[in-house]
């Protein structure tokens, strides 16, 4: 339970910092953190049947797309649009057809879209470097954190049903490890918000 409190605190700090800083405020990163907080509070308050959590893949993909559209080099915006629109459309389809509280397929699409946004950003930076070191860019820390989180999200999501029947202990360990990685990812984003300038 304490992990949840730490997680909410870190995400709230990320939201505050992203709204406080001029660059991240302009790029719309605060929207992503606000949505994360909204969906998490929905999960907490409306357990076990959250009201809006199942729509989180759609809106979080849109929020990330908006952030990267403002952070990425203009030359790569078209690719971002294609990946983003494909991700959103697929998420909508999976959410619409799913009968569960949370569509795994939509979650997977969201994770894949996030990974593709992050990789596209890294590629754009390598293709068109500027005078600022990459580790001093906020988008570097955001992309690294989201990439880490998305990879582990997929790792947690895919074998869930199999492990639930065959190895519940390992599934529990993965669940705990995922929580720690989530904390690490958001702590990394918070560090980026505090210590970077661009």
């Amino acid at each position: 339970m304490y992990l949840l409190y730490i997680y909410i605190t870190i995400v709230s700090l990320c939201f505050v910092m992203s709204g406080f800083r001029k660059v991240s405020r302009a790029s719309g990163l605060w929207i992503y953190f606000l949505l994360v907080l909204l969906f998490e509070f929905d999960m907490i308050l409306h357990q076990p049947t959250p009201l809006i959590y199942k729509y989180s893949p759609i809106f979080l993909t849109i929020a990330l797309m908006l952030y990267y559209l403002k952070s990425i080099e203009p030359k790569f915006k078209l690719y971002l649009w294609i990946l983003g629109v494909a991700g959103v459309v697929l998420s909508i389809i999976f959410v619409a057809v799913s009968e569960e509280q949370f569509s795994n397929n939509a979650g997977l699409v969201k994770a894949l879209a996030t990974i593709s946004f992050c990789l596209l950003w890294f590629f754009s930076q390598l293709a068109m470097p500027n005078n600022t070191p990459i580790i001093k860019k906020l988008a570097f820390w955001v992309s690294s954190a989201l990439l880490l989180w998305s990879i582990f999200f997929i790792f947690r999501l895919m074998p869930r049903y199999l492990l639930n029947t065959q190895d519940k202990n390992f599934l529990a360990q993965i669940r705990i490890a995922f929580q720690y990685f989530t904390l690490l990812a958001y702590a990394t984003m918070l560090g980026g918000l505090i210590f970077t300038k661009e």
């Binding site: 930076q125 390598l126 470097p129 500027n130 005078n131 070191p133 990459i134 990439l147």
Partner: protein
């Protein structure tokens, strides 16, 4: 996790390398751009010099021939006409055409880029001074110290210095009552110095210094040079100093 860390490190290292390459490319482009600008400026200067050379050649060919023809015809006229009443007028025409010829030669010398070294300046100014004082009873002597004949003078500097030189000789002829003029050319520490001394009556304090001195001062200021006037009962010394290229 290890793979992820390795990937991030790889991205950072690769970005830093590309950043250095991009910076070097930008520096190279800037240097190329500056070279291009310099090249264009050089071409422009060359075009200006070529045009000046063309003008000086045209002047020599067209005007020079015309002035010589006027002088010749006037001399013929002088020989043909026996009436002394007209001699003054004819002499005036001859004098005017001679002065015109001299002025044209000065302009040609000024335009010709090949005359922009100290050696040519000294040669031309000596010839001018000798011609100027030829008919006056004023002895003239020259001295040269530390002169590098190939040292260059800017076109404007050369022109203004010569005009000051002319004005100084003019003043000596008109006002100084001098019998001897000494012209000294020296070079020191990237500067060329021209000193004109005479043994005339000097310039009294109460004498109004006319436009000539103001013009000298203005010309030297325009070329960031200096000038100095030293005068007394033993004579006057005018010193001009200009920078070399």
């Amino acid at each position: 996790m290890l793979l992820f860390t390795a990937f991030i490190i790889f991205v950072v290292v690769l970005y830093n390398r590309k950043q250095v390459l991009a910076a070097k490319e930008a520096q190279l482009k800037e240097a190329e751009f500056e070279n291009e600008i310099l090249q264009k400026e050089l071409e422009r200067q060359r075009a200006i010099q070529d045009e000046r050379h063309r003008i000086s050649l045209d002047m020599h060919d067209e005007l020079g021939a015309g002035i010589s023809a006027i002088k010749l015809q006037t001399e013929f006229l002088k020989n043909k006409i026996n009436d002394p009443l007209y001699f003054d007028d004819i002499n005036d025409i001859l004098k005017a055409s001679t002065e015109l010829n001299l002025t044209m030669r000065e302009m040609m010398w000024s335009l010709h880029a090949g005359n922009n070294d100290v050696g040519h300046f000294i040669q031309f100014s000596k010839r001018y001074a000798e011609g100027f004082f030829q008919k006056a009873r004023i002895g003239i002597s020259f001295e040269e110290h530390n002169i590098e004949p190939q040292a260059l003078l800017a076109d404007e500097v050369r022109r203004n210095l010569f005009l000051c030189f002319k004005e100084a000789l003019n003043n000596i002829y008109k006002h100084s009552c001098a019998s001897v003029v000494n012209i000294i050319y020296t070079s020191e520490q990237n500067a060329f110095k021209l000193i004109i001394e005479d043994n005339g009556k000097g310039i009294a304090d109460n004498v109004h210094k006319g436009n000539g001195f103001h013009n000298m001062e203005r010309r030297m200021q325009a070329v960031k040079g200096g000038w100095k006037l030293t005068t007394g009962e033993g004579g006057t010394a005018l010193s001009f100093s200009v920078g070399l290229l």
